[in-house]
């Protein structure tokens, strides 16, 4: 008797899995998400059973070596790709339902690697206006949004410049402004700093951190730079289509062997501390991320 009741409960919970209800409280929520670029059953799975949730207002960095499926995952968040298996919810909306398409595209802004290939117009302000124009926003409101977005990224003074005359970092900030003009809740940035010099990188990172801090924007930053990931609230590490580590930067980077096995480096400080711990047998905490933390730990050890 008890067993059958248990079976019924189990059956019900499987028919309407808890995650689906949970999806409403999380901003982005992937449930056993699988994806393959080809339709054949034998085709390689680029995403395998990815389950992930991103809270509203958080700053999440996604790491992974080339071809691990980071961009593919990002494209799901904007309904450029649809899951082959499992499902993805954005703000409680199932991405596989056609009716949510434009709502999701407007709520999740995407910024790509090459700033040259995402600017559409010959004048900066026209480019920023592109998305709200597409959304059918009235002209006065577009003007307001353009000004607000350009001021947010600190490019208002360049509003009548031609994009091709700007530096890489400036172009990338214009691209961010172009997305902000949609008034999204979340921005997904796919290696936005990969083609920039150190100064451009700093400009872009400062901008997205400020957005996250001041406007509570949910940020998902795909990157190859460990130092960028170390500044996030949370780090997700992907390896051949699965999530192999997920936690705060300290939790993730202290698993040095795991990170290395995914073909990635750990931040230099963590690397040094790891070496001191394993090779030299020093009793240091594994989760030092910054130089200061490491220095303090070493000083404490010797005092």
């Amino acid at each position: 008797m008890h067993e059958s009741i248990l079976c019924v409960i189990l059956y019900i919970s499987m028919a309407c899995p808890g995650e689906r209800i949970l999806a409403l409280t999380e901003y982005i929520h992937a449930v056993n998400l699988s994806f393959s670029y080809q339709n054949e059953p034998e085709a390689p799975q680029v995403l395998k059973d990815v389950s992930l949730s991103v809270e509203k207002g958080s700053f999440v960095a996604v790491l992974g070596h080339n071809g691990s499926g980071k961009s593919t995952l990002a494209k799901h968040m904007n309904v450029i790709l649809l899951p082959s298996g499992g499902s993805l919810f954005v703000n409680g909306m199932d991405t596989s339902l056609e009716e949510h398409l434009w709502e999701i595209r407007q709520q999740v802004g995407m910024v790509f690697q090459n700033p040259d290939n995402q600017l559409v117009a010959t004048v900066v302000e026209e480019d920023v206006a592109f998305a709200p124009e597409n959304m059918g926003v009235p002209p006065e409101e577009i003007r307001r949004r353009v000004e607000e977005a350009l001021r947010t990224v600190g490019m208002w003074d360049f509003r009548d410049h031609a994009p091709h005359r700007l530096s890489g970092g400036q172009k990338q900030r214009i691209a961010i402004a172009g997305v902000l003009a949609m008034h999204p809740d979340c921005i997904v940035l796919d290696e936005p700093t990969a083609m920039l010099d150190p100064r451009g990188r700093r400009e872009v990172l400062e901008t997205i951190h400020r957005l996250n801090r001041e406007s509570g924007m949910t940020v998902i930053l795909i990157t190859h730079y460990m130092d960028e990931a170390a500044q996030a609230d949370r780090v997700v590490v992907m390896d051949s289509g699965t999530v192999i580590a997920d936690g705060t930067p300290k939790e993730v980077f202290s698993q040095v062997e795991l990170i290395r096995s995914a073909g990635l480096d750990v931040p230099q400080t963590t690397d040094l501390v790891h070496w001191l711990r394993t090779e030299k047998g020093l009793d240091l905490p594994a989760d030092c991320l910054t130089v200061e933390e490491a220095a303090d730990a070493v000083a404490k050890l010797f005092s």
């Binding site: 450029i80 559409v120 592109f130 926003v137 091709h164």
Partner: protein
């Protein structure tokens, strides 16, 4: 080497001509060009010459700019002038030498055609000097928008134009990079016969094409992410509004052209 390709030939400025509505400017230019061809007496062409001169002064466009846009047409100008001058039989022969005869009609016609072509170039160049390519595209799109009702893809064409305008500088920059990369590998593009030089272009064009396709793909993706779904339901930030200057400009031009056409028909 490729730097001196300026697109269109926009000459940035702040004159009333620059600020005029592109739609009005396009329409007036068409009217002006048409009326030039309806005039058959060189005497009446003095008015448009003076008119164009004044407009260039207002727009503060240096004369050398006009000369620059006339330069490629010099052979045609000489050809038509010579043809008219020497080979058009008239009533009175003014000058004759060997097989060449200059008649009164020939002389008149030569002058007429010369002034016409110069005015034509000067007038249409004025449009491109005082209107940025993007404003020009915008003007054309809005002028043609009634055709959209007939399923003519006005928006798509305008979008294509403006994307082309946006990417031409980027692609030029890229071409330069590829050229120096190929030169560094020992490619020789400056010497040799025409065929050899054409062949040397292949290693430049292929990477350029490949990269253009990649760019196009990424751009399409970025546009989709920014909610692009064609022209339907799209609004524009910049609304074109007619100002007093557009009215004045139109009035003056219409009266001038109307007068020219009327006189052309009367005489």
């Amino acid at each position: 080497m490729l730097n001196d390709i300026t697109l269109g030939q926009y000459f940035p400025g702040n004159s009333p001509l620059h600020k005029m509505d592109p739609r009005i400017k396009i329409l007036l230019t068409v009217l002006f060009v048409v009326s030039l061809f309806l005039v058959s007496d060189p005497l009446f062409l003095i008015a448009p010459v003076i008119f164009i001169g004044i407009l260039y002064l207002i727009a503060r466009i240096p004369v050398r700019f006009l000369l620059k846009s006339l330069k490629p047409l010099i052979p045609i100008l000489i050809f038509t002038t010579v043809l008219n001058l020497f080979f058009l039989p008239g009533d009175v022969t003014l000058f004759s030498f060997w097989v060449i005869q200059i008649s009164d009609k020939g002389l008149l016609n030569a002058i007429l055609v010369l002034i016409r072509i110069v005015c034509l170039i000067a007038g249409s160049s004025l449009l491109t000097y005082t209107t940025s390519p993007i404003a020009l595209t915008d003007g054309i799109e809005r002028l043609l928008s009634p055709l959209g009702k007939l399923k003519f893809p006005v928006h798509d064409l305008a979008m294509m134009m403006s994307i082309a305008l946006r990417f031409i500088p980027t692609l030029i920059e890229e071409t330069e990079k590829i050229m120096s990369a190929q030169k560094a590998r020992g490619a020789d593009m400056e010497t040799g016969s025409l065929v050899q030089r054409a062949k040397a272009l292949v290693p430049i064009l292929i990477p350029l094409l490949v990269s253009a396709f990649r760019r196009a793909e990424e751009l399409a993706l970025a546009m989709e992410c920014r909610c692009y779904r064609g022209g339907e339901g799209r609004t524009r930030m910049k609304q074109l509004k007619l100002h007093l200057r557009d009215l004045w400009g139109s009035l003056i031009t219409v009266i001038l052209c109307g007068g020219m056409i009327a006189l052309g028909f009367l005489l």
